[in-house]
């Protein structure tokens, strides 16, 4: 094989408009998920991310039926699921993990029933596993709008969110409205879930909301660096994952998340300060318990 044909093989995906679109949208979704993943990681909200991303399902279906933007439907159900979780937790003796588990599966199941009984062209597979290669222009516009909203809000409240994650008591004692910050962060999560749904689907979006933050967390003790590293790994996996999926003709969402997980595993082993090789026999918090 000569150099020219290698080159042709490498650039082949870029000859198609759908591939260029897919790579651009994946990169954008990778970016906003990575930014949010830092806060999810630090707030201990990985499970909450999983819950909200599943709970938006009925919202997506209803929005489809009513022919309104999917983001609105998913926003309503995403925030609704969080309110339901908060209500059940405060009014009953059931612990939070059980409440989260039962609420999001309930919402998700409701979504399944809706899809199965709705005479529409919604493809369940696309919702579950994403369909970035076939993304419509309207969905691209929606993703861009969501990205702009998310990045603007986080740009403004970056430090407030950080304080809210780190020390909500202090946040309250200097007069910050922690209730507002709580729901704002969850609203961003709901919006991001619907953006991620286009690319990797409901099932895998939680990976995009956790893995980049977790990877970056092992690499640095500085929040700004953590954010940049998370973005780097999130965007890189989205772009390269989409590209690889073309060549192996495999699931795009799957490729993206497998790549993210590989980066995490490599980081977990080789991270200079918190990697397994660096920590060696040093006891972690876990073993001290």
């Amino acid at each position: 094989m000569d150099l020219l044909s290698v080159w042709e093989w490498l650039v082949a995906p870029f000859q198609y408009a759908f591939m260029l679109k897919a790579i651009a949208v994946s990169a954008l979704v990778g970016l906003i998920c990575a930014v949010l993943s830092c806060y999810m990681m630090l707030k201990g909200w990985a499970l909450m991310g999983d819950a909200v991303s599943h709970a938006v399902m009925p919202g997506v279906v209803i929005a489809h039926i009513l022919n309104i933007p999917l983001a609105i439907g998913s926003f309503v159900f995403g925030v609704g699921s969080v309110i339901a979780i908060g209500f059940i937790k405060s009014k009953t003796r059931i612990k939070e993990d059980a409440v989260i588990g039962l609420v999001f599966t309930g919402f998700f199941a409701f979504g399944l029933v809706l899809i199965s009984k709705t005479p529409s062209n919604i493809d369940l597979k696309h919702i579950l596993f994403g369909n970035v290669l076939g993304i419509s222009n309207a969905d691209i516009v929606q993703t861009v709008i969501i990205a702009v909203i998310n990045l603007t809000v986080i740009g403004i409240f970056r430090k407030d969110f950080l304080l809210f994650c780190f020390d909500p008591t202090h946040a309250k004692s200097i007069g910050l409205n922690t209730g507002f910050l709580y729901y704002l962060l969850l609203s961003l999560l709901s919006l991001t879930a619907v953006a991620g749904l286009q690319t990797v689907g409901i099932i895998l979006v939680v990976a995009m909301l956790v893995t980049p933050g977790a990877t970056a967390y092992l690499l640095t003790d500085k929040f700004d660096q953590m954010m940049l590293l998370a973005i780097a790994s999130g965007v890189f996996s989205s772009v390269v994952g989409t590209y690889i999926s073309y060549h192996i003709d495999g699931s795009t969402g799957g490729c993206i998340v497998v790549l993210q997980t590989l980066i995490f595993v490599i980081t977990m082993i080789f991270a200079p300060k918190y990697g397994l090789l660096a920590t060696g026999d040093r006891p972690t918090d876990e073993t001290l318990l």
């Binding site: 630090l42 201990g44 403004i156 409240f157 970056r158 430090k159 407030d160 950080l162 304080l163 994650c165 780190f166 020390d167 008591t169 202090h170 309250k172 004692s173 200097i174 007069g175 910050l176 967390y217 640095t220 003790d221 500085k222 929040f223 660096q225 953590m226 918090d285």
Partner: protein
């Protein structure tokens, strides 16, 4: 006579119908360090949380400088250092970042520090003698250094009211001395400090006022008048005879 800074009127707090603090009345003046003394479960932490407005009172109210606490908080005028900081010590922030969080109330919505904010943070870190550790991740500090970091945050906040819940628990002697010295300096600036401590022997050395509680205010006043074996017996019940005798010994020692 200094002006009344914290005004607690007929305050009753209950958790799930169980009364934790009943009919508390207390007026703390400016330029004063008040020691809060009571057994475990006597309602010390509850009193702090009630002053901060974190628990809703069944009856009564708390005013700071004749205003609701909510408004005082928005002006960053009250700083609260809880008993055990319930923070994640692995969090990617260093000493400087944490102390800077005390300045958020003075910044605009983007929380971009001004020259003044940086100066206040630098000053506060130097006051608690952590200047060399400014860029250290908080999990890598000793117990005393952690406490000092959070005290520095309260200092950077430049609040006129400081609420310190067991600040000396688990800290080294040097840190305790340093903290007491700083509190005395703040009192001279006219600040009002309410501080709870298990260490009864140190209370009398730097607190000009003492309040004794056991689900309600049992006694309040000047330390030399209120900090008596009789009142301690009242506050601590049966276990107080030991305390009283140790206190008496200490007084004889002086």
């Amino acid at each position: 006579m200094n002006k009344i800074r914290i005004d607690i009127e007929n305050l009753t707090i209950a958790y799930n119908g169980k009364v934790a603090l009943h009919g508390a009345n207390l007026q703390l003046e400016s330029g004063s360090i008040c020691g809060l003394v009571g057994m475990n479960g006597a309602g010390k932490s509850t009193l702090f949380k009630a002053i901060m407005g974190f628990v809703k009172p069944v009856t009564g109210r708390v005013l700071i400088d004749q205003m609701p606490v909510r408004i005082i908080q928005k002006k960053s005028l009250v700083a609260y250092v809880p008993q055990a900081e319930e923070v994640d010590w692995n969090f990617p922030v260093n000493v400087w970042d944490v102390v800077m969080m005390g300045r958020y109330g003075y910044m605009n919505v983007l929380r971009i520090p001004s020259q003044r904010d940086r100066y206040a943070v630098k000053e506060s870190i130097s006051q608690v003698q952590l200047t060399d550790l400014g860029d250290r991740q908080i999990g890598e500090l000793s117990g005393g250094q952690k406490k000092r970091t959070f005290l520095a945050r309260a200092l950077a906040q430049q609040a006129t009211v400081l609420l310190l819940d067991e600040p000396f628990a688990g800290v080294d002697v040097t840190t305790e001395k340093l903290m007491i010295q700083l509190l005395i300096e703040l009192r001279e600036l006219g600040h009002t400090i309410l501080i709870s401590s298990h260490d009864l022997s140190s209370i009398s050395t730097f607190c000009d006022r003492v309040v004794m509680i056991n689900r309600t205010i049992l006694a309040y006043g000047n330390t030399n008048e209120v900090f008596t074996p009789e009142n301690l017996a009242l506050t601590f019940g049966g276990s107080a005879s030991v305390l009283a005798s140790s206190l008496a010994k200490q007084k004889l020692g002086q």
